[in-house]
Symmetry: C3
Subunit: 675 residues, 3 copies
């Protein structure tokens, strides 16, 4: 047993003589796991009643012959051309109301009975054929579920979903606040999907009725989940045990992965960060993925070994970066390291996408050499990290409903984006070295010393009470502007802002001022002044202590940041859009109180992460995302398990892995608090 | 009698127990007038043959019980969901050719016979039910008419409108210049609405045929006017007297308010300026609204007490700004000061829009306190300003046809926007303190000393002669680049530019040069040099005196600004896109000649405005839009009617109101001219 | 015989009394040639079975009476309104899938049988009526062919075109690489035009399947060529000899003019450069047009005498610029100088477009005076330049397939635009004074010393061998980044980059790095450092000498520019996006080697161009595009044929034309090489 290493492999695109070259090179690179069949629907089902598994058979046979394991896809990420022609219901209707015809991928209407029937059928047949094959280690359903459809079938599905959610039109009218703008519905069939033809203008985020749009987002996420369930059920008829997954996309807005997580046996995801300054962002995404199933390790299903192709500009991953990011994934809970893709396609839109093997089939390329080196390293490591868990005492709340609600809101500011706020708070936690879980708002909070809830716009289902319990028990809660504003239907609370959180936070927000990006209001905390931007809430302390005050405008001198003592703990409220430095200032105080500052908290480019193995061994990962060598503090120096060397200085893109039972769970400054 | 104070009130969105809270707070804030029922169509007509006035009855009863007056809406600003479902003709087809389904508001096709029948019927029933109710002081038809429809019904309506306008296809072909690009129409049914599917590209302003697009703009404005007339006629069957209005939107391009004005008994409008540097722009809009019905006072139907919600960024109105802007409205002719809205909605797209009463129902908010304070002030003022008129000796011409023609023109510059030019000239007049009327090109001009006609692209119906009469009688006319270019069909005059204005202005324009925003050509006038941008006409004096010359390019040294002596008066021509300072330089000379410089002409942030009450009393408003206190000149100091104090210094956002029969109509510099 | 002078003339837009004015002014301006009837379809065919040539008759009669020659158009650039109404197949369906209705121009579906029948019929009737008329010197078919259609008829046409290209679905599936994303086609009718509804997102350049989109571009170009052929064939039935042309648009992407060239008897084009810094770009376009038919002179069919109208900003052509650019056209091979348009239209979208005669009909305008002066100059020149050829020893390859393939590619960079690369290399050649041909990749290369092939993304049909032959014979080949990447189906070569060019260039490209515009990597060549941007290939020399090296990033010190000795010649490879200065540095070395630096190579604003007349006389054009007078080198001074004066200093916008058999073909620095 070791970390599976390999990735997407599409030999159906090549003559068979190439396959042997592939496997020779795979051996050279210690590649042991192949994801097969992701877009083979047209190949395996060339007509409505015709199935042909000969190519899949050959691929699997050849791979097995070389001892490789297989993650086998159902191939339904794109429907075949004949299906779009003969069964037009399978194509989508877009936000603009345009019925699409055959093309692209991820192109199926989730509500199409034809698509549902055909996709379940092909998944079932594949499972029936290959179930029990010893090489198969996982099932891969569909591919990167996402997008949306607005066809009449989806409209009908939406109405059914609403009937089930609300029971009556009267309840729906209340939830959607339809007395506004004469929107009272008197029949279910009057309800339209919210689109450019109905409630929207300027695109998907601008809607006249947030309640309708919010429910459509939920419905569409559920409709695609139904597609996943269709296929998984078909697989389970032949194979009751092998884990079934689909590849998620990390910080992806259209699908509420928390609503999906229970249906997956194994979370896997594709890591394509926007740029090479994304170290913290990737850590957040890893933690979010790990948090989907209560901390269970996940698979890194895809990453590019070198470049992407779909961006306007596709820079190279610099030498060492692919290795660094692969180890980062492991540090955050990945139990597999896989690439897209094994060999570069010749044609179409991914022909310039990075691949382990290029068009010329060489092994003397920089990329292949780096892939092979990492393969060797993983082989040496063996099973050590498999199944290890992250011992987090900090939780970051992540909530698709708040994400959606905040970003489809009219007012106060389109410039405040949910992810920006989450990323800002996560980055501070990450930089200061706190091991943390990213969890849904429904998760138990009692295991955490610190709970950070950025831009928690929607508060529902007793969350306020659970947060209060964290503080009253001695922990610390951190909340920000635009929190506690709406209930689960996106209706404003009829009480002082921040609604159900007001008592915990000890403040009342009287108004909020929104300004253009270029405007700065300085906020002073403990004698230091930080910039704040975009949003400025006018916070009236109602029990809380003022920690930071505004420096400008008519509310100069009033509270921008507060801390309320609540029970044995603290509840912070950050009413201003603080700069990263300002956020870090707040978070540093919070972590220090609980002794949770990491050993490299003062080395901004150095990431540390801990995993505890199933037999209780503590592993410390140290990663240098910077461009200069770093002198490590004693707590982070030692004998690196990867190199076997004693490491005191970590070079650029450097990685070190230590096993040290002596290291204490928290080695940071500050005095450990309760628990 | 006093200025009505209050605004949009939607208690149908709330449980009845809230209504008593509302009225208690209304009393506290001196709110005496409520606009009711603006979006209640779905409520009052829950089905094609069902009417239910119980909620409206209760609202009116409760309001009346507290002695409040009511502006009662017909509620047709959004049609009900059942109507869109059962009578699809009521929804619009957009510029892209997409048939819309139910959603948003202002969503009805103006040509739909179903919409016309239903809207007239509901308006008639409401009028029949409530006519004669003593609380009702005005009828509010529809809401913010606007937008456009491109459906087949509108196409048919357009053809009828064209038949009526042109009589024959031959006349239409001439007017539209259809020999160009093989466009000769040989049958009425060949004519299509100009849209993205026919004559347009890159959006509504880019058309292959200006004549077609111009006529569609006129038709669409007329079609919506027909909708207004339908409802007004239905109201008049029950109530012959109470004024009927609809809320206009100030500087709103799609509707030619001059074509509508005669049909309204009372002009009202909604003031949502783009930002807090809009003092001059709001003054222009007020004056335009007042000018719709020959100077008759208007109602400020809506303004936000604090924030908007629909903008990307929604900043607060700073303390004092709401009061300042309310008094500015009164200074320019408002006989009512109303807000949107009385209580903040819980859900949908306006839940974060400012309201007198917030979600928590408090009176101890900054906003409520400011509203209540203004209410008290208005109560003290009483009837003093009601019915007062503005004694303007300056007219600014405003012409929707020129606006449309200029902005749909191909060439010379898309960067020259009609409103920018109008605003630039108005701002100079405003800053220099001239009381002015903003009037249509059809209005009599003989009452004015000065007529300013910015970007008068289209000249029609003897306007050139009427302008010439102003000058020959001793007055001053100011015209600018891109004037006198086209006739009423947007066909170029077959004579020297500026066409019918050439004799009056004493110039011939040989060519015009257009340049990017970043290019500056300096223009020197009377020894001072000003920047000019965007458009540079090559002006050949043909009798006119050269006042300003270009400083750069091959036309350096040639005329940019001229003044022609015409009869006893002057006619200025400004051929260059002068900077604000340059425009002010020209306008200052013009006003000085007629002794029309205001008393605060040298205080750029201080606005003055005069109203003369029905009994001849002269009221002077002084408003400080700046952020610093200002020492007022003697002519603007005295006992403020609002505070009762002697005012010599006016603070930021300060307002003073004086009654002083001794003040002369013009107290500015310069020697008074004839009249 | 002399250069035809005149242009588009639309007297059908005017009452006949104006026509005499026109001809009087034409005489004054030495205008001898009129393009007539370009948009007269609605006039000549007012109904499906009705033809009326009375107006055309009168126009031609009047023109002939004044001795003018006529370029007679078929008028099919826009279909009549009745046709769109009665035969809806003639209108286009756009990329978004929207069926258009009547409007604009260039509006016909190329696959519509109705359009094809009607257009051929009207062309045939016009030819039948006017063939043999002595005034007619050319036939002008359609107008500025372009755009695209995506209707069902075009879909059917596309499938036919594909059947003919590929023979079988199996070959098509191979070519399009359809195993990718489950795209295998099992029936021809499954194939859809690539559009926003099928393979595209974010617009026409973003496609999931490059092969499909590339073929649709080829098909659409061919479909419109069929339209041209329809009309030409109809003309040829009555007139076997008079040249038939259509007006091209220079650097116009949607139509592959190389695929069209053989069908035209005479190339003509419309020159509307984007701005007044386009001297080099216009030279490129002229050379491209001249290269369409092997160097045969072309007609400048349209240029504006002063301003355009369709741009956002339409600046004037400064004094002298129209003359300068007209002579530039002649210098590059124009045998006609024509304007759009003779008299300004009154209405619609070109009423502000420049014209020889303005709305007021004056001759005392700057524009008319300049037009008349040039007319006089051309009259004096007489036949001297007619039929002259450019003696180029340098070839620049221009390839629509590479243009399309590069710009629809996903990866490596959307910022690298084909035309930008071509323009950069052409500009260097132009500035250094090399007479050059712009030729298709199918053209013979053996007449050239230097072949420059910028961004030759696609290499096909033995081109690599022909380029190698140039080098092996002693010549120089210059290639750049992103060359030799794909075959004719846009499938990557299964060999080292740059594919078939690798042996010639002596390099292997291991990877390419793409970066944002703002990033600069310095490249040092021969001790001088130049900026490079956007794309950076990691070039491994495999025989080539390293000429330039990167200065930054992990590939600092590695090869950016190389030169391979190949046979007796050189092959350069430029792997980085060099700045203009860097490109010029490379090109200067190349030209110097062959003694091809022009006489004004060190005067950046001065253009030189040589034409050799049919009787072997050598004419040298010298043009000063700068704003300062220039001292000419001896080789460029002499007696100017236009002015008759000895010219040693050339003023801004100045033109000189010399006849001097003594001048050697190459007067630049460097030692002449072989040939």
């Amino acid at each position: 047993m070791k970390i599976p290493y390999g990735g997407d492999y599409n030999p159906e695109q090549w003559p068979k003589e190439v396959w042997d070259d592939d496997h020779r090179l795979f051996d050279e690179a210690h590649i042991d796991t192949l994801t097969v069949g992701v877009f083979t629907w047209g190949l395996t089902q060339p007509g409505p009643d015709v199935y042909d598994f000969s190519v899949l058979d050959a691929i699997i046979e050849r791979a097995t012959a070389s001892g490789r394991r297989i993650c086998l896809a159902t191939g339904t990420g794109a429907h075949p051309a004949w299906m779009a022609r003969a069964y037009p219901s399978v194509t989508r209707t877009d936000f603009e109301g345009r019925k699409h015809r055959f093309g692209q991928r991820h192109n199926s209407c989730p509500s199409s009975p034809d698509f549902r029937r055909f996709s379940a059928e092909v998944a079932g047949r594949i499972a029936h054929r290959y179930a029990g094959h010893p090489a198969i280690v996982a099932w891969h359903v569909g591919n990167e579920y996402g997008g949306a459809c607005y066809c009449d079938l989806c409209a009908a599905g939406f109405r059914d979903w609403l009937r089930s959610r609300y029971g009556s039109l009267s309840a729906l009218n209340d939830a959607w606040y339809t007395t506004f703008w004469s929107h009272t519905f008197t029949g279910w069939d009057e309800i339209e999907p919210p689109s450019a033809l109905t409630e929207h203008w300027r695109g998907p985020d601008h809607t006249a009725f947030q309640g309708i749009t919010l429910d459509y987002l939920r419905f569409m996420s559920d409709a695609m989940l139904t597609n996943f369930r269709d296929e998984k059920a078909a697989i389970r008829r032949s194979d009751p045990d092998t884990p079934v997954t689909t590849n998620f996309m990390g910080l992806y807005r259209p699908i509420d992965y928390h609503r999906w997580a229970a249906d997956l046996d194994l979370v896997s995801w594709d890591n394509y960060p926007p740029d090479d300054r994304s170290a913290a962002r990737m850590a957040l995404a890893h933690d979010l993925m790990r948090g989907l199933k209560g901390g269970q390790p996940f698979w890194l299903m895809e990453q590019t070994p070198s470049v992407t192709a779909c961006r306007d500009v596709n820079p190279l991953k610099r030498p060492g970066v692919m290795r660094l990011w692969s180890w980062q994934a492991v540090a955050h809970g990945a139990d597999a390291v896989l690439f897209f893709q094994m060999r570069a396609g010749r044609g179409a839109s991914e022909k310039y996408h990075g691949a382990v093997i290029g068009h010329a089939g060489r092994s003397d390329t920089r990329v292949f050499r780096e892939v092979a080196a990492l393969g060797a390293e993983l082989a040496v490591l063996g099973p050590m990290t498999l199944g290890a868990r992250t011992p987090a005492r900090v939780a970051l709340l992540f909530d698709w409903d708040s994400w959606w609600a905040l970003e489809i809101s009219d007012g106060p500011s389109r410039l405040v984006r949910y992810l920006d706020v989450v990323i800002a708070y996560h980055r501070a936690l990450w930089q200061l070295g706190a091991d943390l879980d990213v969890i849904p708002v429904t998760a138990p909070l009692d295991g955490y010393d610190v709970v950070v809830a950025p831009a928690l716009h929607m508060v529902k289902n007793g969350l306020a009470d659970r947060l209060a319990a964290v503080a009253s028990g001695g922990g610390t809660v951190v909340a920000t502007f635009l929190s506690g504003r709406v209930d689960e239907n996106d209706n404003a609370f009829l009480s002082d802002v921040p609604g159900p959180l007001a008592a915990l936070l000890g403040v009342r927000v009287d108004e909020q001022d929104a300004r253009e990006e270029s405007y700065v209001n300085p906020v002073t905390m403990n004698g230091t002044t930080f910039e704040s931007r975009l949003l400025f809430e006018l916070v009236l302390p109602r029990g809380a202590e003022v920690v930071g005050t505004y420096g400008a405008d008519f509310y100069a001198g009033t509270a921008a940041v507060t801390r309320n003592t609540y029970g044995d703990g603290h509840a912070w409220y950050v009413g201003a859009g603080l700069s990263p430095e300002g956020v870090t200032h707040v978070i540093r105080e919070v972590l220090a109180r609980h002794g949770l500052l990491g050993p490299c908290a003062d080395l901004p480019d150095v990431e540390t992460a801990v995993r505890v193995t199933p037999d209780g061994e503590r592993l410390l990962f140290v990663l240098n995302h910077g461009t200069s060598p770093v002198d490590l503090p004693d707590a982070c120096a030692g004998t690196d398990l990867l190199s076997g060397h004693l490491v005191r200085v970590l070079g650029p893109n450097g990685v070190a892995l230590y096993r040290d039972p002596a290291r204490t769970p928290s080695t940071g400054g500050g005095t450990p608090a309760r628990r």
